[in-house]
């Protein structure tokens, strides 16, 4: 089945990917607007917006992608996001003058309901879990195995019957 192509994209992880895609869209939209209409006002902040948009897009793709390569890319981009939201968040709180124009990370992502702050944390938890599955050899088996695990972790009581199906 189509849905078993990606071992990392399972269960709640799929929702995580969807939210990442949404944030990528939001960051891209804001960035396009800022750069197309008022880039001269704050080149640094708006370049940062564009950079964060690209990173969110790459992270979304990396979460969907399979294999160690994408896994490493996912780690790198999500760590970068967490560092970005923490650093820019802290700077905007301590010295708002430095970034007078909003970026997706300003005030720890307040403009986006703090989703930019929460998402990398969830992403890292998800990647750690995937890493453990792979390390213990279970994740390396067929996709159906992991589908079942995902349902158990999510509180579903359907792992036995659903492993190997797409539910």
């Amino acid at each position: 089945m189509v849905t078993q192509k990606s071992t990392r994209a399972v269960g709640l992880g799929r929702v995580l990917i969807a939210v990442y895609a949404l944030l990528a869209l939001a960051a891209t939209g804001r960035s396009v607007f800022q750069i197309s209409t008022q880039f001269g006002e704050a080149p640094l902040a708006y370049t940062l917006s564009a950079l964060s948009a690209v990173v969110y897009i790459v992270a979304t793709v990396a979460l969907i992608g399979r294999g160690q390569g994408w896994y490493a890319v996912a780690w790198a981009t999500i760590s970068f996001e967490l560092a970005g939201v923490l650093i820019i968040g802290l700077v905007t709180v301590l010295d708002p003058e430095l970034f007078p124009h909003d970026t997706v990370w300003s005030f720890f992502g307040r403009g986006y309901g703090f989703v930019p702050l929460v998402l990398p944390v969830l992403g890292i938890l998800w990647l750690r879990r995937q890493g453990r599955l792979t390390a213990s050899g279970r994740g390396g088996a067929a996709g159906g195995d992991v589908v079942g695990d995902g349902d158990v972790a999510a509180g579903g009581a359907s792992s036995a019957t659903d492993a190997g199906t797409t539910r």
Partner: protein
């Protein structure tokens, strides 16, 4: 934008999202109901597009930046179809949560569009 129509959209989108969240908790696959809620949200957004195009010509001009407004509107219009495609490809209950995310995001975006139209620039 029309204020009452804005609130209709926000309320409908939030209700649509909640229906999909419930469907996910009930372990239901995405079905006509949950995909249908996304369709309703989309129809309202398309109506909003017509309203946004017509409004400036009948004395309801935006105070804020129209480019920013349309980036929001076009992005919002993209969400329900993308979530629907997702639900068709991934036939798991989790797709209902994706549909819910889409509708909740639309609710926020419509509210933001209303701010841009009426508050921003005042």
């Amino acid at each position: 934008m029309i204020e009452w129509f804005t609130w209709v959209q926000v309320v409908v989108a939030v209700v649509a999202g909640l229906v999909c969240v419930v469907a996910c908790f009930m372990k239901r696959q995405p079905d006509d109901i949950t995909v249908g809620t996304g369709a309703v949200v989309l129809v309202l957004l398309l109506a909003q597009l017509v309203v946004a195009v017509v409004a400036p010509f009948v004395g309801n001009a935006p105070t804020g930046n129209l480019v920013e407004f349309y980036i929001y509107l076009v992005s919002a219009i993209l969400l329900p179809p993308l979530a629907t495609v997702w639900a068709l490809v991934d036939r798991t209950r989790w797709s209902n949560l994706v549909l819910a995310t889409s509708s909740f995001a639309v609710a926020v975006m419509v509210y933001r569009m209303f701010q841009i139209w009426t508050v921003q620039g005042l």
